[in-house]
Amino acid sequence: MKRILIILFALAALPIAMAAQNKEINDILDKYEKRKSVESVTISSDLLAMAGKGNDWGGKISKIRIVSVDSNVTENNVPVRVELKRDMDELVLKFKFISALKVKDGNDEVEMYINQNKSGALLFLNSSKEEFAVIAMFGNIDDKLIQTALKGGISIK
């Protein structure tokens, strides 16, 4: 009976871990979205279902959140973008995201982190001289979706 219990809890542990991870991403983005000089957008599953029709990523992404911070904003003499980057770096370490790539083009830099799972997350940390943006995509993160993202094929218009 104890073995059954252990198996049951082990089976339950994965979705719980994923839910905890996604909740923490949302908590971080919630923390920044209502601050000054911050732009934030959350796109619902309904809108994404419409935008994704006929696309490779259609039906896989259930939610997209984007938070963009202006480089000039500081709080307690610390740039907010530095604070947000630090929070995201801690999160990717804590939940063992795979660092898929880092592309640098002049002053622009994109880092891509993956947690491949049926209820996983795809993170892009986009840094430029003017701003720092976090793009978080939640949903069924599979090989096909990752390939589409790597080809620059996730667009909502």
Partner: protein, 171 residues
């Protein structure tokens, strides 16, 4: 003991996860699972069947053990109860996590400087601008990869020609 209906047992389970049930109410939940077949039970309640059935089995095994152990049984029951309380607490956390996880809120939200802007077009433009920046970088990477592959292929062709040339020179 009074049999409870499906709605009542659902409410009791909710109370159970909030740690508000009395012992008799917990017995009512177990009684419901003992006496109700899977065919007539809703999917929602079936999800908790194993949990309450296991509690039941554990209780029985504790009762049997306590007969043998006698007075020492209290020492055994307490850690075991603590374990079940921990499991119940974990279950409460689990339910809370699922309720507060992503996917619950389906509204399109757009904030600038802390103010909510109700302009769908503007929100989608902002999102697309950010996605486009990432896509641009990714496409640049793909172009770079294609160029690299072309260079590798050219190098392989040149190597083959060089090998052919050296053989012709030997002859």
């Amino acid at each position: 003991m009074k049999r409870v209906s499906e709605n009542e047992v659902a409410l009791l389970i909710e109370k159970y996860f909030n740690a508000e049930t009395s012992l008799s109410e917990e017995e009512q939940i177990r009684e419901y699972y003992r006496c109700t077949s899977d065919e007539i039970m809703s999917e929602e309640l079936k999800a908790y069947r194993d949990m309450f059935a296991l509690f039941d089995e554990e209780r029985e095994s504790l009762n049997n053990d306590s007969v043998v152990i006698g007075k020492k049984s209290n020492l055994f029951i307490r850690p075991s109860l603590m374990r079940w309380v921990s499991i119940a607490a974990a279950a409460v956390v689990l339910v809370a996590l699922f309720l507060s996880g992503p996917g619950q809120s389906d509204a399109l939200k757009f904030y600038i400087d802390g103010e909510r802007i109700k302009d769908k077009e503007l929100a989608l433009n902002m999102a697309e601008t950010n996605l486009e920046k990432v896509n641009h970088m990714m496409k640049g990477l793909e172009r770079g990869e294609r160029r690299l592959n072309a260079l590798v292929k050219a190098d392989q062709s040149i190597s083959a020609l060089e090998r052919l040339n050296s053989k012709l020179s030997q002859n």
